[in-house]
């Protein structure tokens, strides 16, 4: 059953793709791409359209094929089957030098023996431009990436974050139509990383260059991308805006991989009802048959403490629980909830500091929580596509 859904989704990709926010015309078109390393298939029938000026993140666990897909787009590792079109032109078998992109590798690959200025000028030097123009362009680029006074230093004299920006400046120096970034931030420490996220996003917006960034860091993808392509085991699980991906995961994998979620062993009872423990709750619409075993998910922040007297929109989805361990995580309390109605399941909920104070929540106390029906999603056991909006 899962197979069918998967096959359907990959065979008709355009139908399930949400429109890109920009609504721009398609710039890069990847159709039915396969990549085999011997018997192992690193990419399986991957299809994807990327619009002009869009910032797309390939997100997925390590080894899922993100780099392989990026390198196929760059022509560095030719795909085994399938087609890639860029700007309306079939580039499937063009060598890298005949394609139009700038690339930043995880290692930055800066030339150690050339100064920063000469690194950035590397792509400009045989274009018959006058020297002064090249110099001006380098200066402009250095200013653009916020390192105006480092021109005469060598790469090893810069910090990791600075090297990253130089690699970026070198890649965009020739004004490529496509910018490819392979885990550009993963070698940096957390603070620099967060800072650079904004800078790169800013720069991309300013230049309007279509950009693909590979990352395994969901926060990075959520905060930077116009659209996220979630990959797993060589297939695309879902494509969508960060909010779509987060709010409406189409597979259990996506629900689980992005953010946190409660996974509850459940049973479908109706097309919009699900049962677990000793409760039967309304949930998002799904197409499982009655009594089929499923997984119901709900994010911790979607579990709402029910305040006595307040009027709930959804009184049917209330559960009485006992508060277990509470863990203070800065902006909220992560709380473990148990209860007769939950059966053996433990429900994790994130309660705001305000709510916790107002309701006087404390370990051992009891509470009624609401599980909003539209936030309670249902998926088949063992992955695959589930309920949706």
């Amino acid at each position: 059953m899962r197979h069918e859904t998967l096959a359907r989704s990959t065979a008709t990709p355009t139908k399930v793709l949400p429109m890109a926010p920009s609504g721009n015309p398609t710039y890069l078109q990847i159709s039915n791409l396969w990549k085999a390393f011997g018997d192992f298939h690193a990419l399986k029938d991957v299809s994807l359209d990327i619009n002009e000026g869009e910032f797309v993140c390939f997100l997925g666990p390590s080894g899922c094929g993100k780099t392989t897909l990026l390198r196929a787009v760059a022509g560095l590792d030719l795909q085994s089957r399938g087609m890639i079109r860029q700007g309306g032109k079939d580039i499937s078998t063009l060598p890298p030098s005949k394609r139009d992109y700038g690339i930043v590798f995880q290692s930055y690959a800066l030339f150690p023996n050339l100064t920063i200025a000469r690194n950035i000028a590397f792509g400009l030097e045989n274009t018959k431009r006058p020297k002064a123009e090249i110099e001006a362009r380098v200066k402009e680029l250095l200013a653009l990436v916020g390192l105006p006074d480092q021109a005469n230093k060598y790469p090893s004299q810069l910090s990791g974050g600075q090297q990253q920006r130089i690699a970026l400046a070198r890649a965009i120096a020739i004004s490529p139509g496509l910018l490819l970034l392979d885990e550009p931030l993963s070698a940096l420490d957390a603070k620099v990383r967060v800072h650079l996220r904004h800078e790169i996003k800013e720069l991309q917006r300013k230049l309007g260059v279509t950009t693909i960034m590979v990352t395994h860091d969901q926060e990075e993808a959520l905060s930077m991308a116009d659209r996220i392509v979630v990959m797993n085991h060589g297939v695309i699980e879902q494509v969508g805006t960060p909010t779509e991906i987060y709010r409406h995961p189409r597979t259990l994998f996506v629900a689980d991989f992005i953010g946190e979620t409660n996974k509850l062993d459940a049973r479908a009872t109706d097309s919009n009802c699900v049962a677990f423990g000793k409760s039967e709750l309304r949930c998002a619409l799904h197409r499982f048959e009655t009594d089929q075993s499923v997984i119901a998910t709900i994010r911790p922040e979607d579990v709402i403490p029910h305040e006595a007297g307040s009027k709930s929109s959804d009184t049917g989805n209330l559960i009485d629980v006992v508060i277990g361990e509470m863990e203070f995580l800065g902006s909220f309390w992560r709380t473990r909830l148990r209860g007769e109605k939950l059966g053996d399941e433990v429900l994790i909920a994130d309660f705001s500091i305000n709510a916790t104070r107002r309701l006087g929540l404390a370990e051992g106390g009891s509470l009624t929580v609401e599980l909003p029906a539209d936030r309670l999603l249902v998926f088949p056991r063992g992955g695959g596509h589930g309920s949706s909006h």
Binding site: R2, H3, L6, A7, T10, A11, N32, W34, A36, H41, K44, D45, A74, G75, L76, L78, Q79, S80, R81, S92, T93, L94, P95, P96, S97, K98, R99, Y101, G102, I103, F105, S107, A109, F111, P112, N113, L114, F122, G123, E125, N126, K153, Y154, P155, S156, Q157, R170, A171, A173, I174, P176, H233, G234, V235, G383
Partner: protein, 671 residues
């Protein structure tokens, strides 16, 4: 999750990437260098191999004769074989000959007279049967009718057959077979001594806190800078018939196994030391600490930790030394006396008796240990890489007065041996006439009055070394770059890599001989380079190709593998990247390759001795020839000239390396 195999990859062919100009150029260069290696190595070896299986003889059954009476009536047809049997003219061993053999047809007609009116007819029984009439080659089964005067000038040609005959006759010749035993004996004894001594030396340097380690390391490398036969000359001066301390040997002659072994230990010592030092450096400190914490005695630790840790290195060193000794011919030539060894046999067979086929046989036999050494070395390298990647911690020795003292003694003894040999040569070169006139003079440096090519040969050597260093470095490094930094083209790269590794498995002597077979053949379009400096350069580059190739590969592997991708994405041709980044970053390795080629070109004898000509005499060969002619003091003097040249080259290299490092300090270290 293995279930996602519902859709299968559509069948069809793999797409092929369009090649851009860079790809073409890179592949083109790789193919050009491959061709170079094929012409300068694979083809000559192949020709030599086939030569060793070729025998030449006169096939008498292939010729038929008729003789007329005075009136011109021809009689019965008879083959040369029948005539030979009937008249018992030539015994079978007389029929064996070489590729160029000729046999007068008149041999079969004892009553022949060129004035007689009798006429002769000759024909072959096969279309390939060949004979000469005068200088015209005839073939085939047509009768040729000749008068007596012409028949006088008819000669049968030898025919070639393929088989193991050469090998059989080699192994059934007692004196030649004796050389195999001698060579094995010498090589085994030398290997045991060299590896033992080098192990002690390496152990002292890496595991003790003794002083003067730097000086010891430098002295240990000195033998690389001189031809292998130089220690032989020193030994003659020390222990020869008029030696300074001849009595020390109590009448044992230095000419023979004793001299060869001592000299071999001298010239193979640095090679063994390098390999064993690396092996010891790799051995893991944590192993040591484990042994120490188990309170194992030092002696036990040595046997249970040190030796097993270094065993790959020891095995590899043993094979390398064994091969160097068994394939070296300069040393036994100088000091071997009547003691025959394989390498000298080749030289004698080829240079002395012009018996090329037998030379080829001995060469093939010499290839066996060399190939074995090569295979073992490759296996060992792989194991050691595995050990290295296991995060070994360098061993930091702790002072131990007694142990450090013994180590110092050991290294001092070895250093005295090495420096002593060089000093004796120096003395021999500077003394007027040993042992009668001990005043110092430069008379022995007047090479122009001796055999061997005079100062011209020294100049030639410098030229050879410089050309080899320049062109060799360019070829080797370019080849390594192409093979390391090309995408795809797997088969081509595998072939190239194999060709680049092959020279290591081929002893110089064998290479030189193969060159004679291949290049000294008028049918070969490359024949014109025979006897020129060009062939010496080609031969020397090829001979020492592998080490340079590996050095370049190591350096190239340390460069970020994405540089080529970055350059391609920036639309820059690869040669820009090569010139602006790759070469500058690899400059230290490039300098190492060129000094290696220079030094070896100065000292090598084994390959070039077969292919130098009167115009291209070399210093290293001059040492050999002057010694052969009895001019031992000038031979020593020339040997020292080579030594000083190499020392100077090394100093220049050190200076350049330092300058490069200083210049690149800015980007190599964190500022």
């Amino acid at each position: 999750m293995a279930a996602v195999t519902d859709t299968l990859m559509p069948s069809g062919r793999l797409p092929r990437q369009h090649l851009d100009r860079d790809d073409m150029v890179k592949r083109g260069l790789m193919i050009v260098i491959s061709l170079y290696l094929i012409i300068s190595l694979a083809a000559p070896l192949y020709v030599m191999l086939s030569k060793s299986f070729s025998t030449y003889s006169f096939d008498l059954t292939a010729y038929e004769f008729q003789v007329s009476d005075a009136a011109g009536n021809f009689g019965q047809t008879a083959t040369a074989a029948t005539l030979n049997d009937r008249l018992s003219l030539l015994s079978p061993d007389k029929l064996a000959t070489n590729a160029d053999g000729r046999l007068a047809a008149t041999s079969f007609f004892p009553e022949f007279s060129f004035r007689s009116p009798v006429k002769y007819r000759i024909r072959g029984t096969t279309p390939d049967t060949a004979y000469l009439i005068g200088s015209d080659l005839h073939r085939g089964t047509e009768w040729q009718e000749l008068d007596s005067n012409t028949f006088r000038r008819v000669a049968l040609r030898s025919s070639r057959s393929t088989g193991l005959d050469n090998y059989i006759s080699y192994f059934s010749t007692p004196s030649l077979f004796r050389s195999v035993q001698n060579s094995l004996f010498i090589a085994v004894i030398s290997t045991v001594f060299t590896v033992g001594i080098a192990f002690g030396f390496a152990y002292a340097i890496s595991r003790s806190c003794m002083r003067f380690k730097g000086a010891f390391r430098m002295i240990a490398m000195a033998p690389i800078l001189v031809p292998s036969l130089l220690p032989g000359i020193a030994l003659i001066y020390l222990f020869g018939n008029q030696g300074m301390i001849r009595d020390v040997l109590f009448g044992t002659s230095i000419y023979g196994p004793l001299g060869i072994v001592i000299g071999s230990v001298f010239f193979t010592f640095p090679h063994a030391l390098i390999i064993i030092s690396t092996a010891l450096a790799i051995s893991d400190q944590r192993h040591y600490e484990a042994a120490a914490s188990l309170r194992a005695s030092k002696w036990r630790t040595f046997w249970t930790v040190t030796i097993p840790g270094a065993r790959f290195g020891l095995i590899s060193a043993a094979f390398v030394v064994f091969t160097l000794v068994i394939t070296d011919f300069g040393l036994p030539k100088v000091i071997g006396g009547q003691y025959n060894v394989l390498a000298v046999d080749i030289y004698k067979q080829v240079i002395g008796q012009q018996n090329f086929e037998m030379g080829a046989v001995v060469s093939v036999i010499l290839l066996i240990p060399a190939l074995a050494a090569f295979v073992v070395d490759r296996l060992v390298q792989k194991k050691q890489v595995a050990l290295l990647s296991a995060r070994s911690v360098p061993y930091a020795p702790k002072p131990n007065r007694k142990f450090d003292f013994y180590c110092l003694m050991w290294c001092t003894l070895v250093a005295i041996f090495i420096v002593g040999i060089l000093l004796v040569c120096q003395l021999a070169a500077l003394v007027k006439f040993w042992p009668y006139d001990l005043t110092l003079s430069l008379k022995n440096f007047a090479f122009n009055h001796m055999d061997g090519g005079g100062w011209g040969s020294y100049k030639n050597s410098i030229q050879l070394a410089a050309l080899t260093a320049v062109f060799g470095t360019i070829i080797v490094f370019t080849g390594a770059y192409m093979v390391e930094k090309t995408e795809g083209f797997w088969k081509g790269r595998a072939v190239f890599h194999f060709l680049a590794m092959l020279p290591m498995a081929v002893p110089g002597l064998v290479l030189g001989l193969a060159y004679i077979f291949f290049f000294n053949n008028p049918a070969n379009p490359l024949h014109p380079i025979y006897g020129t400096m060009a062939i010496l350069v080609v031969c020397t580059i090829t001979h020492f190709y592998t080490v340079g190739h590996l050095t370049a590969l190591t350096a190239l592997k340390q460069i970020d593998g994405e540089f080529e991708s970055v350059a391609a994405s920036l639309k820059q041709p690869f040669y820009k990247l090569f010139a602006k980044v790759t070469v500058p970053v690899c400059l230290p390795a490039i300098l190492d390759i060129s000094i290696y080629l220079f030094v070896n070109a100065m000292t090598t004898v084994s390959a070039v001795v077969f292919i130098y000509s009167a115009d291209t005499a070399l210093a290293s060969v001059a040492v050999l020839n002057m010694d052969d002619a009895g001019d031992i003091a000038p031979a020593a003097a020339m040997g020292m000239m080579i030594f000083y040249t190499n020392v100077l080259a090394r100093l220049v290299h050190a200076f350049l390396s330092r300058a490069v490092l200083a210049r690149t300090q800015a980007w190599r270290t964190r500022g």
